[in-house]
Symmetry: C2
Subunit: 438 residues, 2 copies
C-alpha cells in the first residue's frame, strides 16, 4: 500500500520533522522573513513557462469530468513543482498590496511526477526564503542568504553544512572572454562534469559549442577552482581571461564569501563548477552539502533571478534559497542519525484508580495542562502495573497517582513524591520530547 | 489570476493563521496527541470506498502521460478529500508499528473538486484529532473530544464556540422503536430539515421510508430536541418510544454532555437533529457553531466510527473531530474580525549609516537575533528619515542606530535610549506580532 516516492513518517519521525521545521521557521523569522503559503496548484502555462521540469508536472482532473462527455470547464491546473515559480506569480498578482523589498518564507509540499530513485521523492517538503524588490535588488541580499541558511543548520543536531557558491556571471563572462559565445550551452555541458567526467565534457564542448582543445581545457580549469576564502579570484585571473562580466561576477562572488566568512568561518566555499539546472538563475547560485553526506548532493539550493517576475515594464528581481527538508530528513533517517526521546508529546499519565474517578482524573489533567504540561488520563482502570506499562511503552516519563495526597512517579528512576497538580512542574528537559543526534 | 476556490492569504493573514495553528497544535499536544502527516494522494479505490464525496475527488495525471501513447503505469491516484480516510488507511498499513490506543493529530490541506460557493473551498486546511484502538474503543474517548476542541477555541481571540452533539444510536434506535426499519433513509431525510423545512421532510418520510403521519411527526419532534444539560433524556422518553439501541444512545449522549458540562459550562449542547452526511459515523456525532456565525454552519465536526479500518478480522474503531481552519478563518477575515499588529515578524531594524558599515550592522543584528529578537538590517544607506519610514510602513516598532554608544528608538513614542546589542530587550508584548480581535 505505500506509494513509491510518497514518503510517510511514523509519529516519532514526524516529531523530529516538526522540531526541524520549528527551528527553520524561527530562524527565518529572526531575519524578518514574513510567512506566506500559496495554493498547491498553478495554471499549467505558469508551470511550463519556467524551469526545465515541465515533464515532471502532475495535472489535476476532476473525477466527474471523466464520466461526463462535456469538456473540462477549468483551464488545466497542475501541482506546483517548486515554491519559487508560485511565489513569482504571487508577487505579480499582489504587487500593489506588498511593501518592497518583500521578504517572505514559505514551507510547503511540492510535487514532481518523476520516476522515484534513492533520495528522490514525488512529494516532498521544501522551506524557502526569497527577497524580491521592484526594478532592482541590491546585491547585498545575495550575501545574506547563506547567513540565514547557516544559522538554520547550526541550530539543528546534524553534521556541519557547507554552502557552495558560484556566480553565473563568472562562468558566462569567462566563456565569452575565452571566445565561446554560446555560454548557456557551455554552462549546461560543464554542469555534467560530476556525471560524465572531464574527458567527455571536453569532447562535448568541442562538439556542441565549437570549443578548441585549449578553450575546453580552460573551461575545465575554471570548474576545478574551489576555495573557502578570496583566493579563488587570483586563481581565476591566472587563467588569463578578461571580460567585464567576469569582473562583475568575481566581485559579487567575493562579497558573498567574505560576508559569510565574517559571520561564520568555514560556512561558505566558492565552488566554480556549481551551475544549477534551472533556467531562471542569472547570477549567484547556491548548493549545500552536509559533511559526511556529500555524495547525496545538495540539500539546500537557490540563486539570484533577475527576470522571473514582471508586470508590463516593471521587473521584480529576486534572490532566494530553498531547504530540501524531506530530502535531508530522508538521508538522516536512512542513516539512523536522528531520534526522539519518546513517541508521544505526553509528559504525564494520570493513573485511573477506578472508572468512576475519571472526572476527578480529568480535573488533575486539566490543572497540569493549564500550566503547559502535556497530560493524558489512562485509558482504562487496569491494575497500576499495566497503567505504568502504558506510559513506559510510549516513553512517557511520569505517572500521577490520585490520592490523599496525590503522588507522582518518575518511572525511569522509580522515585515517587507527593505532588499538587496546581504547582508540580517536571524538569524542563522532560516537559517535551527531546531530539537526539544518535 | 486567482483561481476560484483556492484561497491565498497575504502575509498578515498568514501570520494570524499560523498563530491559530500554533494554538491548535499546542492544545492537541497538551492532550497527548502525536503528530502525523500523510501523503496528499491516495489510490482512487481508497477514496471511493468511504464517504459520499466520491464525485468531488481530484485525480492526478503526469503531464508526460498525455503526450505518450503508452498506458499509465501508475494506478489512479487522487488528492485526499479529508484526513480521516487517509488516517484509517495509515493505521491499517502500520498497525504493527503503532501502540494502541493510538492518539494522533494531523494538520493538512485537503482538496475537493466541487463547484466553489461562499465559504466553500476546493483547497482548505483541516486540523484533526482521532483516537483509534484495536478491537474496541472505550466510550469515554467520545467524551474527551469536546474538551480538546473547547480548549482550542477558548485559546483563540474569537467568539465563543458551542459544540452540538448527537448520537446516531439515539436516532436509529428511535426510528426502529417507532416501527421505521430503514433508519439510514430516515436519517438522510431528517438531515435535510434545515434546507427544506419540516413539511417537506414529513412528506419525504412518507414517500421514501413509508412513515405514517404520526411516525413522521415523532421523527420531527425528536429533531426539535435541544438541551445544554441532561434534560434531553426525559424529553426523548416523553415521546414514548422504547428500544435498546435508543437506551444505549441516550446513555452515551448523556455522558458526553455531563463530562463537557463539568469541564466547561455551556460548551456542549445535545442537538438531536445533527446527523453529519458522511456514511462512516456509527455513534456520537459533533458539529460546532461560533456564536454570531451560526448561519455559516459547522466549523468543527466529527464523530465515532466503528468500521472505517480493519485488517482481516481485526477492527480499529475510532473517534475523531476536525477543525475547518480555512473555513473558520475565511469567515472571520470576511467580517474583519481578526488582525495582527504588524505585517512582518521583525521587531528591530538596524539603521545603516553608510554601506561600508553593513558588516558592523550585521554583527549588531546577529547579537539581537541570538537572544531571540527578530532583526533586519536596513536595505540601503538612505537618509535616516527614510529608514525609519521603512520600519513604520511595516509596523516594526524599533529602529537601532549604531554609534558610540548605540541607541534604539521606539518609533511609535519617539523615545530613544542608549542600548547594547548584547543585553537590550524589548518589552515582551513587542517581541512578536500580536493577534488582535478587532
Amino acid at each position: 500500500m505505500p506509494i513509491s516516492g510518497f514518503p510517510e513518517w511514523l509519529p516519532p519521525q514526524r516529531m523530529v520533522e516538526q522540531f526541524v521545521l520549528d527551528k527553520i521557521r524561527s530562524t527565518f523569522e529572526s531575519y524578518g522573513f514574513a510567512p506566506l503559503e500559496t495554493r498547491a496548484v498553478e495554471p499549467l502555462e505558469t508551470l511550463l513557462a519556467k524551469g526545465e521540469t515541465s515533464k515532471e508536472v502532475y495535472l489535476l482532473r476532476r473525477l466527474q469530468e471523466e464520466s461526463s462527455s462535456a469538456p473540462a470547464t477549468d483551464d488545466q491546473l497542475g501541482l506546483h513543482f517548486d515554491l519559487t515559480v508560485p511565489f513569482a506569480r504571487f508577487v505579480v498578482e499582489n504587487h500593489g498590496k506588498l511593501v518592497f523589498p518583500f521578504r517572505r518564507y514559505q514551507i510547503q509540499k511540492v510535487w514532481r511526477g518523476e520516476r522515484p530513485q534513492e533520495g528522490r521523492y514525488r512529494e516532498f517538503l521544501q522551506a524557502d526564503i526569497d527577497v524580491v524588490n521592484r526594478d532592482t535588488l541590491p546585491f547585498h541580499f545575495d550575501t545574506e542568504m547563506p547567513l540565514v541558511i547557516g544559522d538554520v543548520f547550526r541550530s539543528l543536531p546534524i553534521p556541519p553544512a557547507v554552502i557552495l557558491v558560484n556566480n553565473r556571471k563568472v562562468c558566462e563572462g569567462f566563456y565569452r572572454g575565452l571566445g565561446l559565445p554560446d555560454t548557456a550551452q557551455v554552462l549546461r555541458t560543464v554542469d555534467k562534469l560530476d556525471k560524465i567526467g572531464p574527458e567527455k565534457v571536453a569532447a562535448l564542448l568541442a562538439e556542441t559549442a565549437g570549443a578548441s582543445d585549449a578553450q575546453a581545457a580552460a573551461c575545465l580549469k575554471l570548474a576545478e577552482i574551489s576555495a573557502s576564502d578570496g583566493s579563488f579570484v587570483d586563481r581565476v585571473r591566472s587563467l588569463g581571461v578578461d571580460d567585464p562580466l567576469l569582473d562583475e561576477g568575481l566581485a559579487e562572488l567575493l562579497q558573498v564569501v567574505e560576508t559569510a566568512d565574517e559571520h561564520a568561518s568555514g560556512l561558505v566555499r566558492a565552488e566554480l563548477k556549481i551551475a544549477r539546472g534551472l533556467d531562471y538563475y542569472t547570477g549567484t547560485v547556491y548548493e549545500t552539502q552536509l559533511r559526511g553526506y556529500e555524495r547525496f548532493g545538495s540539500i539546500s539550493s537557490g540563486g539570484r533571478y533577475e527576470t522571473l517576475a514582471s508586470v508590463g515594464n516593471t521587473r521584480f528581481p529576486g534572490v532566494g534559497i530553498s531547504i530540501g527538508v524531506s530530502r535531508m530528513l530522508g538521508l538522516l533517517f536512512g542513516q539512523n542519525a536522528l531520534g526522539v526521546s519518546r513517541s508521544v508529546p505526553t509528559c504525564v499519565v494520570v493513573a485511573l484508580p477506578s472508572e468512576d474517578q475519571r472526572a476527578a482524573c480529568h480535573r488533575i489533567a486539566a490543572a497540569l495542562r493549564k500550566r503547559g504540561i502535556p497530560t493524558e488520563v489512562a485509558p482504562t482502570a487496569a491494575k497500576f502495573g499495566k497503567q505504568i506499562q502504558f506510559a513506559d511503552r510510549r516513553g512517557i516519563p511520569y505517572v500521577w497517582f490520585p490520592g490523599s495526597p496525590d503522588t507522582v512517579k518518575d518511572i525511569r528512576s522509580g522515585e515517587q513524591v507527593e505532588a499538587d497538580a496546581a504547582s508540580w512542574t517536571p524538569p524542563a528537559a522532560d516537559l517535551h520530547p527531546t531530539i537526539t543526534n544518535l
